[in-house]
Structures are given as C-alpha cells and as structure tokens.
C-alpha cells in the first residue's frame, strides 16, 4: 500500500528571513544574503564572500529553558523544527501522544565544535575540555538535542549525503510515510558556517573569487567561478495525506516522488556526472507517475560552480528535450549561498511559495549564459508562471544526486 505524503509545515532559518514567505519575497525582489565576511574570517582565503546568519537569536525561537547545552547547529535545527511544528499545528499535546520521527540531514554537523574540542585538548591537555562539549561533537547531536527540546520520541535519524543531505532527508522521510507506515516526520537539514569549512572549500578551489569587481557568484552565468558558502536550517513537516486531511491540517503541497543516485567518478567524469543526474530526474518523475510535460518549473542545484552548473544544464537539456529552452528554471543559491544541507529544504520552501503565488524568483545578477546554453527559461528577474508542480534538484560534491517532485495537492 502506497500512502500519499503531504507537506503541512515549513520552518526556515535563512540569511534572507525566517519564513518561506520572507525568503521567497526577498529572492523575487532580487535581494541577496551574500556579503563580504571581513578580513578576520578571510584569513588568506581567496574568497571573501559568504551568506551568513548574522543576526540569528536563538532565544527568539527557543524560550523557557537554558540554551547553553545546545551548540549552534543544534540551536538552528531546534529553532527551524519549532517553526515547522508551529506551522503544521503539531502542538505539545499531539507530540506527547504520538511518536513523532525526526530526520536531520547534515554535511558538517558541529564541525567547529569538534575542531575546537580537539584543539583545546591538544593545547591545554585532555582535562581542560568539558564533557558536555563532547556530547555535541557527535554528528547526530542536532537531531538528539532537537528531539529532547521538542519531545519527539519516534525514529531519530541523521543522514549524511554531503551538500544534498537536507533534500535527501526529505526524500527518506517521504519513503517512511509512503512505504513504511510512518504518520508524521519532521525532515530537513542544518549546516553552519565555520572557519573549518570555509578554509576547506577555499583550499579545494570551490569558492567564488571575484575580488576585484565584488560581483556575486551567479548560478549558470558565464562569469561564474565558484560558490559562496552559506548556512541555515530548513525543516518540513511531512505527514500521511489522509491523516493530515482528517486532523484538518493545511496542506501546502504534496511530495510526489523522490530519487537518488551516485556518480562513482565523483564529478571527475563529466559524461557520467551528467548521465547520473539524468537518471535521477527520470527515476524521480517515474516514481511520481509524471512525465516531463507535467513539470512546470525547476529549482536547480546550481550555485556558481564551474563544472557542476554546466552538468546540471546538460542534464536538464537531456531530460526535457525540446521543452528545455523555455522551461522555467530558478537557482536560489545566488541569494542564500550554498547552504549545504539547508539548501534543499530552502529550495522546497521557495518552490511551495511559487506554487502558491505563481511567482518564480529569478537568478539574481544573471547577465550572460554561456553561448551553448541560451535559454529563455533562465532569467535574472522574477516572473509569473503557471505553477502546479516543481522538480527540485540536488547535485552533491561527492557524486550524490537527488531529485524531488512536489505538486499542488489535488
């Protein structure tokens, strides 16, 4: 028996606002969350831009108990989960009565904490580190802390698939409801900006380095040379469709299908990279019982990467054929940066706003697509489109690909 899956709530902490409405509005207005990070952080890095949460105040979202045991990732996840619970109407009574499951995607978890814990122990001896700090070095700390904060006693899992971890968590949660009898799952992702990841991505040559012009990283644009690192948290309240209807929940959209696949060349073989994403999109469509003609727009994974943005364009051309040139495509990482595990859930949240309003955000700052990719469907400004269904892509750095199809619930 296959159950339908409803999205009944969204919780979002992003550099452009803490609601899907605010984020969608900012993106449609062409605002960006990417800014210079200051010389202290740059510290020899070729990149000096990032999309950071400069004014995140955890106490605004998490009241009544001490926040000290929660590290930043746990605070971001707990805050976003709280917003998703509120938005879906899963109050404390219904949480006490039901075993709500939590699925957290993350790439780095609290890497800064882990490094800090180790550096303190190395510099001042093992006796100098706090046992409580160790609890936050486990990669599933955010999931555990969130479950404790909101009293969620169902399956508590953390999934790691690199930068697509968040959308992967949403996909797995969908499977739990569709095939494994789960009633409700809170699923999404969290990643924080850290000196460690900023330094690592910089050393790998993956970050944007437009220092002279101060121009932003622009997905798909001919001038792109890397992405800006972002941070945030995004969670969706997913539940079994009939159950959601029966309790009178507001249904924001339906998850129609999901697929994931792996490019074992890990991006080194362009043909295999493109083929793998093509296979992922085809599988997601067939599991959604939809054809390419049923998709109204695409939320691309593109973030300004030299290689991966072009892989995605090639894959879209292969999947959508003649429709590809006019197919509306947006890429929101020009606004929120590459927020890693938080990216996918943010893409879903913005897509839901597009389904609701018909407004598709533009690719901020886009001037020129590469000549081989002249596309009417990719534009710098927001526009109104027919929007009943969306394909959302995630193309990871490690070879993992995923695609999720959502649609207006019938």
């Amino acid at each position: 028996m296959e159950h339908r899956v409803a999205i009944t709530g969204i919780g979002l902490i992003s550099p452009l606002g803490d609601s899907s409405n605010a984020l969608h509005h900012a993106l449609c207005s062409g605002r960006t969350g990417i800014h210079p990070v200051g010389p202290q952080v740059v510290n020899g890095n070729q990149c000096h831009l990032a999309a950071r949460l400069v004014d995140f105040q955890p106490e605004k979202y998490l009241a009544g108990r001490p926040l000290r045991p929660l590290d930043r990732s746990s605070q971001l996840a707990s805050a976003a989960c709280g917003l998703a619970l509120e938005s879906s109407g899963w109050n404390s009574e219904s949480r006490a009565a039901n075993d709500l499951a939590v699925m957290v995607g993350t790439m780095f978890a609290g890497m800064h904490n882990i490094g800090d814990f180790d550096r303190t122990a190395m510099a001042s001896g093992p006796a100098s580190v706090s046992p409580m700090a160790f609890a936050n070095t486990v990669i599933n700390a955010a999931a555990g802390q969130t479950a404790i904060w909101h009293n969620m006693r169902g399956v508590n899992s953390t999934v790691a698939a690199g930068s697509i971890s968040g959308i992967s968590a949403v996909g797995h949660a969908t499977d739990l409801i569709r095939h494994r009898g789960a009633m409700a799952v809170l699923a999404g992702g969290v990643d924080e900006f850290s000196v460690e990841s900023f330094c690592g991505f910089g050393r790998a040559g993956l970050l944007c380095t437009n220092h002279v012009s101060e121009e932003l990283p622009i997905p798909f644009d001919q001038r792109r040379n890397g992405f800006a690192l972002g941070e945030g948290a995004g969670f969706l309240a997913l539940e079994e469709f009939t159950y959601a209807i029966e309790r009178g929940a507001r249904i924001l959209a339906e998850v129609r299908g999901y697929a994931t696949a792996f490019d074992h060349s890990q991006g080194r073989d362009p043909n295999l990279a493109v083929q793998t994403l093509v296979r992922t999109m085809h599988t997601a469509l067939s599991r959604s019982k939809m054809s390419v003609d049923d998709i109204d727009f695409v939320s691309a994974s593109a973030n300004g990467s030299v290689a991966r943005d072009s892989y995605e364009l090639s894959a879209l051309a292969a999947v959508f054929g003649e429709r590809a040139s006019a197919l509306p495509v947006t890429a929101i990482k020009g606004g929120i940066g590459e927020a890693l595990a938080a990216s996918g859930p943010a893409q879903v949240a913005v897509a839901i706003e597009t389904l609701r309003t018909g407004e598709l955000p533009g690719v901020i700052g886009l001037q020129k697509l590469p000549p081989e990719w002249q596309r009417a469907g990719i534009a710098p400004d927001a526009r109104t489109i027919k929007a009943r269904s969306a394909l959302i892509n995630g193309l990871g750095l490690d070879g993992n690909c995923c695609s999720l199809v959502i649609a207006v619930a019938e």
Partner: protein
C-alpha cells in the same frame, strides 16, 4: 500482543521479497575476515591493550582496542590509500571482503542497482585532527586541497561506492553508537521498496584521540579491561573497526544460487528524548525499540534464542539494558542467552552494532554463541544469563541485536534463520 502472530515453534513461510544476508566482511581488533574473527570470538580472544595510536600520558586511562595489522594497500585499489581517511579505508576493506564472501561480481547494469549505507559515530576524526595540528602550528594555509573530500562523514559511503563503482543509493548514517543497526535497517528498507537489488550495509569508525578524550572526560573509559555485567566493571574501552553485510531480496539470492546466512526479520528504532549522554532511567526507549522489533518481525519474545547486548561495560548501560530486557521478556529474560562481545572488541563505535550483527548471523549459521569474557563476579543487578567466559553451543533460530547511542537513540534488529 497483537493477534495473528505465529505460534511458538511454527515455521514461517519465507516471502520472496524479504531481505537476506548473503555476505559478511569485517576488520576488527581480533582479526580481519569472517573465519579469523569467528574463531577468535568463540575462543574469547581479547583485542584490548595499551593505546598505540597516540600518547595517553595525560590521560587517567590507557587501554584501547586498536587494529594493529591493517594495511590499506591490501584492499584499496581505485582510490588513493593513505590519502583518504582511515575509517573509509576500513569500510572499503570490509566491503571488499563482504562481496568476496557473497561471491558477487557486478555487471554494469547491476551497479546502478547497487548501493551502500555506512553507519558511523565520528566519520573521519583523523582528518580533522590533521587540520587541528596545522591550525595550532599556524600553518593552516598548508591544508590539503582534499580536506573537503575526506572530512565530512558522507565520505565514508561515497568512498566505498567510488571504490566499487556503485551507482545506486549511497548514504552515511551518523547516528553514533547505534549507527550500524540504523544502516542495516535503512538498507533493508530500500530493498523492500525495490529501490535497489543489492545493498552493502554496515558501519565504520577509526580509533581517534577526539573520541578517546571525550569518553575519558565523561569518565566512561575503564581503567583496566572491559567487563560487561560484572560487579567490578569500570567502563567501556574505545575501539575501532568496520563491518559490512551484503543484503539482497530472497528471490534474487536464490536465483543466483547464493549462500543465505539469515533473514532480516524486522527492526525497531526509538528515541528517549531524555538526555544527550544518559539513557532513560527505566530503559523505556530501549524497551520500546525491542518491542517494535519483535512486532515488526512477528516474533514472540520466547522465540528469541540469543540477544547480542549493547553491553558497553559502563555501570549505567549494563544495569539499564538489563532492566529493559526484563521489561520486554518478563520471566523469559532469565532464560534467553545474552552476551556482549564488546568484552573482547571494546566499543567500535558506529561499527560496533554492524560487527555484532555479523556475530548474530554467524551464531545462527554455526550454532554457537560467543561469550561475555572477563565476567568474573556477576553484578546482582545484572542477573541474567550473560554466557560468562565460555562460548556455548546452542541452536539459534532468532537473534536480536541491541544498540544504543548518544542522543537517546535506541535500536534493535532481529535476524532469523533462513528456511528454504
């Protein structure tokens, strides 16, 4: 108990879709590969000794369970051995051994239908330890350009898949010390949903100064050996290892003439939502996971022939696990054979429950149960049959594998004898 459960002793009909185990591979502190591991496990060999990976002079404790005879070059072919992290190397070795044990060779078409799920506690702590050394020395500009490829824990599954050329679902599940069980449960689900034809599932963790420091600061590490359920137990012993199982649907395994070790009959996962590092004082979450596993596998408590305990050797874990087993198994709790192989292997973190899963599968296959060694004076509060010191010949039709973790995560997986 829900109605409609099979009667005690009544053989079940095997469904063609059920998940079966057709290969096992592992690298542990008591040996690499199924044969040596099983031989040493039944002999009660202890893999615990003074830590060699780093100096413990500033620690109050000095023991660990390290793998001392591992050479990555023996196993890692496509990827650069020595450049990727140690946990990835251990996972790759276990995966190669498991595939060889399953007599599996892939065609191109199979590869797109084959995936891997790796559970882990710490991912690649050795990689960030190198980062930290550079940071402390002010040489961070010399950080290797492959840090991002090697540190984040998704690298474990990605490296196994890249080494083997897999194109299906590739996922790392970092649910701390229950991660191996989570990975096996997830991979089994993927097969049940027909998302794959072949899945590798298991866990990997490497011995690390970060993990050692953390458990030492929690006061959890034993000053001598690991003595689960003993009145004089002093704690756990950090270890390392990797274990991978080859999983397929029964009909596929039968069609290719594979040796079937056991069936994955069901599992239960739950969260205490109580405390990050302490378990629920009445073992509520652990009991719930065991009950869910019994229910999902349509197993009666009295049908369980062996429980592989989480059994870390800490005073609290062993007492609470005993309480939880009594809650679920009632009077039968005193009769079911239970052991903790962490007494020999220490705690291999995310790999532990995957290694223990293999012990369950081999117990079913060979009709022997490994012992809890160093169990000299049984704790009156841990008054069950913990198979003290000597392995036991015992027919095992159904085995339950328990694992618990930071974050209040509880897991139980049930393995059942395969009936053709």
């Amino acid at each position: 108990m829900p109605s409609g459960l099979p009667k005690n002793g009544h053989p079940r009909q095997s469904a063609p879709d059920e998940t079966v185990v057709t290969g096992v591979g592992l690298v542990t502190s008591i040996g690499t590969g199924k044969e040596i591991f099983w031989q040493n496990l039944l002999a009660g060999r202890c893999g615990i000794g003074p830590v060699e990976a780093f100096s413990t002079e500033h620690f109050p404790v000095h023991h660990g369970a390290e793998i001392k005879d591992f050479d990555a070059n023996d196993y890692v072919n496509r990827l650069p051995a020595g450049k990727i992290g140690r946990a990835s190397e251990l996972a790759i070795a276990a995966a190669h051994l498991a595939l060889a044990d399953a007599h599996l060779s892939f065609t191109e078409a199979d590869l797109e239908q084959a995936g891997v799920v790796v559970g882990t506690t710490s991912g690649e702590p050795g990689v960030i330890e190198r980062f930290d050394d550079l940071y402390i020395e002010g040489r961070i500009n010399q950080l290797s350009s492959d840090f991002i490829d090697n540190y984040p824990c998704n690298a474990l599954a990605a490296h196994v898949a890249s080494e083997l050329g897999l194109g299906g679902e590739v996922l790392t599940i970092p649910t701390a010390c229950a991660a191996g069980n989570y990975a096996i449960a997830h991979a089994s689900d993927l097969l049940q949903m027909r998302r794959a034809r072949i899945m590798l599932a298991g866990g990997a963790d490497s011995f690390s100064r970060i993990t050692y420091t953390g458990f030492a600061r929690l006061g959890a590490i034993s000053t001598d050996l690991c003595r689960p359920f003993d009145r004089n137990r002093k704690g756990m012993i950090p270890g390392e290892g990797a274990a991978m199982l080859v999983l397929e649907r029964r009909a596929d395994a039968v069609a290719r003439g594979a040796r079937i070790y056991a069936v994955i009959a069901g599992y239960g996962l739950s969260c205490d939502a109580y405390h990050m590092t302490s378990a629920h004082p009445q073992g509520a979450g652990a009991a719930r996971a065991m009950e869910m596993a019994l229910r999902s596998s349509e197993t009666l408590p009295e049908e369980v022939d062996y429980i592989s305990a989480h059994g870390t050797g800490t005073p609290t874990n062993d007492r609470l696990e005993t309480i939880a087993i009594k809650r679920v198994f009632k009077d039968y709790a005193y009769r079911v054979p239970i052991s903790s192989i962490k007494s020999m292997l220490g705690h291999a973190m995310g790999a532990a429950s995957a290694i223990e899963a293999i012990a369950c599968v081999l117990a079913i296959t060979y009709g022997y149960i490994p012992a809890t060694i160093h169990l000299e004076t049984q704790d009156p509060e841990c008054d069950l049959d913990f198979i003290a010191n000597c392995s036991r010949e015992h027919k095992v039709n159904i085995a339950m594998n328990n694992a618990y973790a930071f974050g209040g995560n509880n897991s139980s997986v049930i393995f059942r004898r395969y009936e053709a």
